[in-house]
Symmetry: C2
C-alpha cells in the first residue's frame, strides 16, 4: 500500500524516501492554520488532505524553531520570521535579548487509511549563531547543533541528515511502521 507524503519540498521527500519504502509525493498546497502547537497544525492539514484523498495512508511534517529568548517563539511560525527579519535577524534578536539557546523540532503526523493519527517527534538543541555556510535552507545558516562546531548550512546534506531533528522523527516513524506492517 502506498504511503503519501503531503509536501511540495523535494528535499524533504528525498530524505523520507531514503529511509522509508514506498513513499509517494502528494503535492497539495494546504493552508496552515495559526497555532504554536505543531500537532494542531498537522491534524488540520491531515484532515484537509483526507478530504481530498480519502482512505489512503498520509503523512504531514512540520519543522519548527523555538528560541529561549522569546519563550519558545516563533515555533511553527518560523516561516514568517524568516520572511520578515531573515536568518540574520534571528541572530540579532538572540544577541540583543541575551540568550542564544534554541530547539529545532520536527513533528511527523501519520494518518492511517481509517484516519487514526499518530505523532513522532525529533528534537535537537543548539545555539543561534552568526550566519555561516552556504548549504541547507531557511535558518540552517544560524543554527549550530550542540556537540558540533558547524552550523547545519556548513554540513553536507548527508552529515545534516544523520543528526537532524527530521531524521530522529523519521526513525521513530520507521520503527512504528515496521510493527504496523508486521501485524
Amino acid at each position: 500500500m502506498p504511503l503519501f507524503f503531503v509536501t511540495g519540498n523535494a528535499g524533504k521527500l528525498r530524505e523520507l524516501q531514503s529511509v522509508i519504502d514506498g513513499v509517494q509525493q502528494l503535492d497539495l498546497d494546504l493552508p496552515e492554520i495559526q497555532a504554536l502547537d505543531a500537532e494542531v497544525i498537522i491534524r488540520a492539514k491531515l484532515a484537509e488532505a483526507r478530504r481530498q484523498r480519502p482512505e489512503v495512508e498520509l503523512i504531514v511534517e512540520d519543522t519548527s524553531l523555538h528560541l529561549h529568548c522569546l519563550n519558545g517563539l516563533p515555533g511553527p511560525l518560523i516561516k514568517w520570521f524568516l520572511k520578515t527579519i531573515g536568518a540574520d535577524g534571528l541572530h540579532e534578536l538572540a544577541q540583543r535579548l541575551g540568550n542564544d539557546r534554541a530547539e529545532a523540532r520536527t513533528f511527523i503526523g501519520h494518518a492511517d487509511a481509517a484516519g487514526e493519527v499518530t505523532f513522532f517527534e525529533g528534537s535537537v538543541s543548539g545555539r543561534i549563531v552568526s550566519p555561516r555556510g552556504g548549504g541547507g535552507f531557511g535558518w540552517d545558516q544560524v543554527f549550530q547543533p550542540d556537540g558540533h562546531d558547524k552550523t547545519f548550512a556548513e554540513m553536507t546534506p548527508d552529515e545534516k541528515n544523520t543528526i537532524s531533528m527530521r531524521r530522529i522523527a523519521i526513525e521513530k516513524f520507521r520503527a512504528y511502521r515496521k510493527t504496523l506492517l508486521r501485524t
Copy 2:
C-alpha cells in the same frame, strides 16, 4: 437584510452595532490560516463562513500590531506573541531592539450575498511603551497612539472607540454600505 458579523468577541460586536444598523452576531469558531497579510486570513475565514452560511451578508475583522523593530512582525500573528511573551515582553523587545514605533491596523472584510469581498482598513500609529492602564485587552496597555498621552488601556472605552483603528475601518465600511443600500 441582516448583516452577520463573524466573531466571538462581545466588545467588538457592541462597537460595530453602535455604528451599523442590523448587525447580528455569528459565533462560528473558524480556524485562522497562517499569513502576514490580513486580507488573506480574512478571505479564508469568509470562504469558510460562507460554506456554513451561504447566501447571507457577512463581515470578518482582523486587528494586527506591526512593530518597526521587527520589520512589521507580528502583524496578524500578534495573538501568539501575547500568549508567549505577553504585553510586557513586547515592550522589552522594542526597548532592546532600540525602536518603539508601531502601527495598529484593523481590516474589515465584507462579503455580499453573492460572495463578492471588499476590504476596509483603519490604521493608527503609535509607540510601544511600558505597560500602563487597566482597561482594554490584549496589547492595549503597551500601545500609546500618536497625539495622545494615554495608552489605549488608560482610555475609557468611548475614548478609545473614537480614535481606534477599528473605528476608522468601521466608518469606511459604513460609508460604503450607505451607497450600497441606496442603489
